[in-house]
């Protein structure tokens, strides 16, 4: 038990030391960000398809993004997929997503970079 507690404490304290060098591609973003944060059961899974968007596989994400024009290549600020991640919410704005828990700044920045690069993989 003591050993597992030590591991737990070490894990809780763990954090990376490298700046973000993750691939800005649809494949990586879908698997590493969209699927775990947006593609869960209640929301944008193939199972539920809230707003008819599904982000739980690359194929579904590609289909949702292209069908509904969620991304304007090289224009993140004009892309709904990015806008919902930074919206302040409230009465006069589009809802902030994900609705059930916040998203890391670096994840939002990687999506911004991906769109800015022309959305490779889309």
């Amino acid at each position: 038990m003591r050993w597992s507690l030590v591991v737990a404490v070490l894990s809780l304290a763990a954090c990376g030391s490298v700046d973000d060098d993750r691939p800005a591609t649809l494949e990586y973003i879908t698997v590493a960000i969209l699927q775990p944060s947006c593609g869960n059961a209640q929301c944008h899974s193939s199972f539920r398809r809230a707003e008819d968007y599904a982000f739980d596989t690359v194929e579904e994400a590609r289909d949702s993004i292209t069908t509904y024009g969620l991304v304007m290549r090289t224009e993140p600020e004009s892309s709904l997929l990015y806008q919902v991640l930074i919206s302040p919410g409230g009465e006069d704005n589009i809802p902030r997503m994900p609705y059930d828990q916040p998203l890391a700044d670096l994840d939002v920045a990687l999506i911004h970079e991906w769109i800015l690069l022309g959305a490779p993989g889309l």
Partner: protein, 375 residues
């Protein structure tokens, strides 16, 4: 108006929801999940001992059986069900009032000697445009063979639709070890489960495939193993491993669990640490693939405040890529369970979470009051 729309969205989205067992009671009352549940993995229907425990935890004693034992049921049949809803305030970070219908499910178990047929039936979140075949479904259904059907131990074999047996299996599906730990909400799928359960030891091996019948939550196929050794009646350690392949990546998960009951403090400690290696497929547009190594962990202390009040304090950690700075997420959960009678439970669920100790993104939290009625 937009707040209303978002609130409504949350309401609709909240049709998803369900609950499993209460591992908080393991070691405190019985050594194994099968000590209280019909399934060797826990969850859903209670057995005779589980019903007695439910009544023993209640503020006001009532008949714990199905519909307060007001209906005569043949001995080969066990019926049950769960109704749950929750409402409250969320700031994640947008501030909304939310209502979650959560769960409306009925369970049945037909037992004929060593063979039993188990199924549940209830509402499911409606797919957009109502394109699902129906808005009701059977989340779990399986045939089970039990080596010693009049006991709660021995060899079990299940074939059908259920959640792969893995980790602590907490009821609270937002905890990181479920959401990011290989057993998220509605990840049940078809599989074959072999379990060997003894008071001092249990082992579970599950092979599973992506559900071919519906658009599933989990697209993975693979195998999972979980073993738990109870070194003393108050202390258990476990090991876990899962390998799975999805349409875009394959995953390796491995980790440990530990549980310790401290009777003097009326406390049960549980922890799970899981390492995850996601290997993302190399494609023409993703030539580098990607293999983020992740850590998911949870430490929970459950305090029996009084016989009918249970307080959970949990700390969760999830790092979606341990190489990269400021992607780690920590959450503190507090759940207060009040068991009014053997069927009705009121739970206050609260959470505060943040990235990189406040440096990696917006913080979030919620406070939800949950009503749970067990048929």
């Amino acid at each position: 108006m937009k707040t209303f729309v978002l609130t409504l969205f949350v309401v609709i989205a909240g049709l998803a929801g369900r609950a499993d067992a209460y591992p908080q009671f393991q070691l405190v009352h019985d050594q194994t999940c099968s000590g209280c549940h019909i399934s060797p993995a826990g969850g859903n229907l209670l057995n005779e001992n589980g019903l007695a425990v439910a009544d023993s935890k209640a503020h006001f004693s009532t008949a714990p059986e199905f519909f307060y034992d007001a209906i005569d049921i043949p001995g080969f049949l066990t019926l049950g069900g769960d109704l749950r809803s929750a409402s409250g305030f969320m700031a994640t970070p947008e501030k909304v009032l939310a209502y979650f219908p959560m769960q409306l499910e009925a369970y049945a178990n037909l037992k004929f000697g060593s063979i039993s047929i188990n199924a549940n039936f209830g509402s499911r979140p409606r797919q957009f445009g109502n394109r699902a075949l129906t808005t009701v479904w059977s989340r779990e259904h399986y045939v089970m063979w039990q080596q010693a059907p009049d006991t709660t131990e021995g060899l079990y074999v299940r074939a059908g639709r259920f959640m792969p047996v893995f980790g602590l299996r907490l009821a609270e599906h937002p905890v990181y070890i479920r959401r990011y730990g290989g057993t998220p909400l509605y990840a049940e799928t078809y599989g074959l489960h072999v379990a060997y359960v003894k008071p001092r030891f249990e082992a579970h091996v599950t092979g599973f495939v992506e559900d071919p019948l519906i658009s599933p939550v989990s697209h993975d196929s693979g195998g999972a193993a979980y073993v738990e050794a109870r070194l003393t009646p108050a202390f258990a350690v476990g090991g876990e491993a899962m390998i799975s392949k999805g349409p875009d990546a394959h995953e390796f998960r491995y980790g440990i669990t530990a549980k310790a009951h401290v009777p003097a403090a009326k406390l049960l400690l549980q922890t799970e640490i899981q390492f995850v290696n996601k290997v993302i497929d190399v494609t023409g547009s993703n030539p580098d693939g990607g293999a983020p190594l992740q850590i998911v962990g949870y430490l929970m202390g459950s305090f029996t405040l009084t016989n009918f009040l249970l307080l959970d304090l949990g700390v969760g950690h999830y790092d979606s890529n341990i190489r990269i700075r400021d992607l780690d997420r920590d959450g503190v959960d507090m759940n207060l369970h009040y068991f009014l009678d053997s069927h009705l439970e009121i739970v206050l669920n609260t959470r505060l979470e943040m990235f990189a100790f406040g440096n990696g993104g917006p913080s979030g939290g919620y406070a939800l009051l949950q009503l749970h009625y067990r048929l």
